[in-house]
């Protein structure tokens, strides 16, 4: 190793160190606009519209066809299936819904029931807060058995989010990887 190349390497080390310091220093100075963290229990993260959270159930739309129960692949912890439907036959010979349960102790959020539902009574939800505790028996699995009123009150994910609100805590002015459109007939780019 010649003297000149050694000195050049040393100078390059110093030069590039200070270049790197400038990047982290700028990040520190503009911290408020570049903050990525959401202080979760204090601030809430709004989810994007396609988010697959806890299910939403609209009882007034339900026709009690039980397709969701048949589509459900998971046996429940307390019930026979993860989805349990109780109904009676009304005066007009129509099935009327009594109670609708989803057991979140066993639900895997596969959304097969949502796909199976012909009347959109089961909808994708926005809630990600499914941990339940009982004030007396602190960790009781039966608390995860959601009834239909509870499921009706869950936020619907399509009504909650837009991508702008979902990612507004992330600054937009930093370089983001973008995909260039390639016109048809272009040669395949070299890897």
């Amino acid at each position: 190793m010649s003297l000149i190349s050694m000195l050049r390497d040393a100078g390059y080390a110093i030069y590039s160190t200070f270049k790197g310091l400038a990047i982290t220093g700028r990040n520190w100075k503009e911290f408020r606009t570049r903050k990525q963290t959401v202080l979760y229990p204090l601030e809430e993260l709004e989810v994007p519209p396609s988010y697959r959270g806890a299910l939403v159930f609209r009882p007034e739309r339900c026709i009690v066809c039980e397709l969701c129960e048949k589509a459900c692949p998971v046996p429940g912890t307390r019930t026979e299936k993860t989805i349990e439907i109780y109904h009676h036959v009304g005066d007009t010979k129509k099935r009327e819904l009594d109670e609708f349960y989803i057991d979140y102790a066993s639900c895997i959020n596969c959304y097969l029931c949502v796909e199976a539902c012909p009347v959109d009574a089961l909808l994708p939800g926005a809630s990600y807060e499914l941990a339940m505790t009982d004030p007396i028996a602190q960790f009781d699995r039966t608390r995860l058995l959601f009834g239909m009123r509870q499921l009706d009150a869950q936020p619907e994910s399509a009504s909650v989010g837009s991508y702008e609100t979902a990612y507004r805590h992330i600054t937009r002015d930093r370089p983001i990887l973008r995909v260039l459109p390639v016109a048809e007939g272009d040669p395949e780019p070299a890897p």
């Binding site: 790197g20 990047i23 990040n27 983001i176 973008r178 459109p181 048809e184 272009d186």
Partner: protein, 432 residues
């Protein structure tokens, strides 16, 4: 020359209690040791907090937020947790040595402060070999590290300790050699002499012959700091100090993200806390030493003499003025170390050894020869400073030329990746 405030305080207490004057010196030293110990503890506690906050901000995170406002009580809480934990000693470990090793490491970090003056009055002992003493005491850390690893009877700890010993012993050499340049210019091995040489009482040559001397009424005191006359030595000293204290980018010994602890894997509770404390105390010592040797210690960059003559050299307000400047400089250097920690990747082991033996030692030896020649021939300090800066600038120029020759990456522009053309593109929907 003002005397040590601690010893004066001890003598005053001894006079009040009708004790002999030798007891007064002992009382003064004891008080100073107590105050400095607590200063180190407190500073290190909040250094850890500041490290976590600074690095978090540089990485777009928040850092500790929940314990106290802005997480201010996080590190005291961590310290309490460590104190309340069980100190596990492995059954096959050498119990006595295992217990002594963290104490040795911490004492080595603590002993250096005996000769380090914070202001012209706040020092314990003004040893005439202070620089030698500090670099000797700093190398005692290796003993504690190897002892602790050996006593914990763990082969991984032992391997890490050997690596640490190799690193720290090799960087002792440039660390001491880089200190010798300022020592030659100041003509003194004591820290008070070094700072006084900085202030220009002993080595005023840089001032007397510059046309700049008249500017601002001769108040450009920062021009006489050794970082102006010895930029290469200052850089080498700082880099060698970083490597000796196992700080990023030289933290191969305890790479926090990969090998969790290195030489102190077997330690827990307060014994681990002592290792951890000593690590940060060493960073603080490095910053304090750099401040004293190269950044003029407690001296203000402008208008130092005017302030001191207005309030008197030994007065309380001047002491606080000096203390403030000292804390500002040392604090900036500590933050700079953390800044480097947030920025740089780690060097490899062979690169580490190359930097130490093939670069820093030759460069510091060259600097030693250059400075020695200039001092012995009586050439003014200004010429040395100019020569140093020209060499430094040439090296940076070479490096920036190399940087320009590398392929360009524009960080401002978003990176674009061409999409692969699909094999059977449906023509009805058009290309995406």
């Amino acid at each position: 020359m003002p005397s040590s405030a601690w010893i004066d305080l001890g003598h005053w207490i001894a006079a009040q209690l009708h004790l002999p004057s030798a007891a007064g010196a002992a009382i003064g030293v004891f008080i100073a040791a107590f105050v400095v110990l607590n200063l180190i503890m407190g500073t290190v506690t909040y250094m850890i907090w500041w490290l976590r906050k600074l690095v978090a901000f540089m990485q777009s995170r928040l850092g500790p937020m929940h314990v106290g406002r802005w997480g201010l009580l996080q590190t005291p809480a961590d310290a309490l947790k460590l104190m309340s934990k069980e100190g596990v000693i492995p059954s096959l470990a050498d119990k006595a040595m295992f217990t002594v090793a963290p104490a040795i490491v911490f004492i080595a970090a603590y002993l250096g402060y005996a000769t380090i003056p914070f202001t012209p009055r706040l020092y314990v002992a003004d040893l005439n070999v202070g620089v030698v003493y500090v670099s000797a005491v700093a190398s005692m850390t290796v003993v504690g590290i190897v002892l602790g690893a050996w006593a914990s009877n763990n082969k991984y700890a032992l391997v890490a300790a050997f690596r640490s010993a190799a690193q720290m012993v090799s960087y002792e050499v440039p660390f001491a050699l880089a200190l010798l340049g300022p020592v030659m210019l100041a003509g003194s091995f004591s820290f008070l002499g070094l700072v006084r040489g900085d202030l220009g009482q002993n080595g005023a040559q840089i001032f007397a012959e510059t046309p700049l001397a008249g500017l601002l009424g001769g108040n450009l005191t920062f021009l006489s700091w050794f970082v102006v006359a010895q930029p290469i030595a200052a850089l080498c000293f700082f880099v060698a100090g970083l490597a000796e204290n196992n700080v990023t980018p030289f933290d191969i010994v305890e790479a926090e993200s990969e090998i969790v602890a290195g030489y102190h894997v077997e330690y827990s509770g307060m014994k681990f806390a002592l290792f951890f404390l000593a690590e940060f105390a060493n960073t603080m010592t490095l910053s304090v030493l750099t401040t004293l040797t190269f950044l003029g210690g407690w001296a203000a960059p402008f208008g130092e003499s005017a302030f001191v003559s207005a309030f008197g050299e030994g007065s309380l307000i001047t002491t606080f003025w000096h203390l403030g400047w000292f804390a500002a400089k040392a604090g900036f250097l500590i933050s700079f170390v953390f800044w480097l920690r947030a920025t740089l990747p780690r060097v490899r082991v062979d690169q580490l050894m190359d930097i130490g033996w093939k670069f820093l030692i030759p460069v510091t030896l060259f600097n030693l020869m250059l400075t020695g020649t200039f001092v012995s021939l009586g050439i003014p300090r200004l010429a040395l400073a100019v020569l140093n800066w020209v060499l430094f600038g040439l090296v940076i120029l070479l490096g920036s030329k190399k940087a320009r020759d590398l392929p360009k990456v524009n960080l401002k522009q978003p990176a674009t990746y061409p999409q692969r053309a699909t094999v059977s593109a449906p023509s009805a929907g058009g290309a995406r």
